[in-house]
């Protein structure tokens, strides 16, 4: 049990990255339109986030410095400031979507209009940030989020034609009904979701919150190797469910409730209930992750005192930043904007934030002043460099593709 709880940080981080409300819907959209022909992107993304989360966790454990402190120190105020603005935009947009997502999931369970749930959801998130111990927070949301394994169970219960599914995944082809540009737009959206910068901010700061030291390097590695592949697996399961049930029926996914159709068909009410619990936990976890990341990035860039392990009065500006972010989220949602549509635009900001986040991590992971004998090995550096090139290509292509495809329409 102790081992299981030790990986809670990795699981929560991965849930926030792969299974936040935007990704839940994006995965279903991708499955219903492209089958499993984009599953390879998720695999590429999982390897990439594993590489960089591992590095950032290692830097946090060995030197005690969280990722945004490193970004400010290596890039200076100007480039780090550009990264801060872009990262905050991604993170706050995602937070807006998550608070809306909790409300939507509660609407599915209760049939009470989601706008009534929004202030309740935001207040609940704040109370957890304000009072609950970090470990308790990550264990509860991480474990409940595991209920989303129900999607993987649903794939088996649906009894698909495994040969056809494997064929879609292993020999990816753009479906006849879709354009090349749309295919690549969704590829970048999935890749960007896997590698969203707030994951490493949260993961490395979480390591500092748990007071990792050199002794905890193994824990860090275990977190990375369990959490992110699990997140990727679940995200492919959702796409598979949609590919099995929604793709042949020609159903266009545009709401959270459609996610439940394949599940209901496979496992009935019980599985649907399990999945709703999972969705509430995952969106709640993602809301906590993004709210905390807002505080972490601002505080680490500006040199404020931060951390949930401190009393709120000892990290006053950090807590005020998170309160402001939540108030903004409620305000935006009250304009009746679609929470799911909100996350689509975060792709644009990821374009700026991704390379500026991962380059300093790679540089510092090679700095003996920080890392001592734990500097990166050659294989790690090779992988890191290859991924930096992919990140730059993806971030350059993201905005033009978004305009050309009208955000994947």
């Amino acid at each position: 049990m102790k081992k299981l709880l030790a990986v809670a940080l990795g699981i929560l981080t991965a849930i926030g990255g792969f299974l936040d409300i935007g990704d839940l819907v994006t995965n279903a959209v991708v499955g219903s339109r492209f089958g499993l022909s984009l599953a390879w992107v998720v695999v590429v993304g999982v390897v990439g986030i594993c590489v960089f989360a591992h590095m950032s966790g290692k830097v946090a454990a060995v030197s005690g410095r969280a990722t945004f402190e490193i970004i400010r120190e290596r890039l200076g105020p100007r480039a780090a400031g550009a990264n801060l603005v872009a990262s905050l935009a991604v993170t706050v947009l995602t937070l807006v979507a998550e608070v809306g997502g909790i409300a939507l999931a509660l609407q599915l369970a209760s049939s009470v209009d989601h706008r009534l749930w929004v202030p309740v959801a935001a207040l609940a998130v704040w109370l957890v940030l304000w009072r609950v111990k970090f470990e308790v927070m990550e264990n509860v949301t991480g474990l409940l989020g595991l209920a989303l394994v129900g999607f993987a169970v649903a794939v088996f219960l649906l009894g698909p034609d495994w040969g056809a599914l494997l064929d879609q995944a292993l020999t990816p082809q753009v479906p006849a009904a879709e354009g090349q540009a749309t295919y690549w737009y969704y590829a970048i959206a999935l890749f960007g979701a896997a590698m969203t910068p707030y994951e490493v901010f949260f993961f490395s700061s979480g390591g500092v919150e748990e007071r990792w030291s050199v002794k905890d390097l193994a824990t860090s590695r275990l977190n990375v190797l369990v959490g992110f592949p699990l997140g990727g697996l679940l995200s492919i399961s959702i796409a598979a469910c949609a590919a099995i049930v929604l793709l042949p029926g020609g159903v266009q996914v545009d709401a959270l409730s459609q996610l439940l159709l394949p599940v209901a068909q496979a496992g009935g009410k019980l599985l649907v209930a399990l999945i709703i619990v999972g969705i509430v936990a995952a969106t709640f976890g993602a809301a906590l992750e993004t709210a905390l990341s807002t505080g972490y990035t601002l505080a680490q860039y500006l040199g404020w005192s931060w951390g949930k392990f401190r009393r709120p009065v000892q990290a006053a500006r950090f807590h005020v930043a998170m309160i402001v972010a939540l108030v903004v989220a409620v305000g935006v949602l009250m304009t009746n904007v679609d929470p799911v549509a909100v996350t689509e635009y975060s792709v644009v900001f990821s374009a700026v934030a991704l390379p500026l986040t991962y380059l300093p991590v790679l540089v510092v992971a090679n700095d003996p002043e920080y890392m001592g004998e734990h500097v990166n090995g050659r294989a790690m550096n090779l992988l890191g460099t290859v991924y930096l090139v992919i990140l730059v290509v993806a971030s350059v292509a993201a905005i033009p593709l978004m305009i050309v495809t009208r955000a994947g329409a």
Partner: protein, 151 residues
């Protein structure tokens, strides 16, 4: 960089004598690092250093005889920070009243962060944190609650 004039060149260059102790590059090792107080609480990020010239005769350094004429010895007298981000990003020079300083003698250790030997709350620099604590966070219920359950 000034180029060395050929007429002053005499024989192969002697290697630069390596001064004793640790050599730090102010830009690489100091600027934009976190400043932590005695309890490892972040105080600020280091925005600049205050340098003051000292009388050459009084402190003969390792380079005393070899320095070009006109160069003065300076010592770091304080760490500077404050609301100066705008000029650091867009250039220019903030009015000197903006700078807030921490005397160099408070520095205990230089590593991946600058560690001070004093409590952050005792420094003038941290007034915005104290203001937020006293006027906002401290007044909300539970603001002084310890999430880790220490009394």
């Amino acid at each position: 960089m000034r180029r060395r004039r050929p007429e002053r060149w005499s024989g192969p260059l002697a290697p630069e004598p390596r001064p004793a102790g640790r050599v730090l590059d102010a830009r690489l090792h100091l600027l934009d690092r976190q400043v932590l107080d005695d309890d490892e609480v972040p105080v600020c990020t280091l925005d600049d250093l205050e340098l003051e010239p000292v009388d050459d005769g009084a402190t003969p350094g390792p380079h005393a005889g070899t320095r070009p004429a006109g160069a003065a010895t300076v010592v770091v007298t304080a760490l500077l920070s404050g609301p100066v981000l705008r000029t650091r990003i867009f250039g220019g020079r903030p009015p000197s009243s903006r700078w807030q300083s921490v005397a160099w003698r408070h520095v205990r250790d230089l590593g991946t962060a600058v560690r001070l030997g004093v409590r952050g709350d005792d420094l003038d620099l941290t007034w915005p944190e104290r203001w937020t604590r006293d006027h906002v966070v401290g007044r909300l219920p539970g603001g002084r609650h310890d999430p880790e359950g220490r009394s």
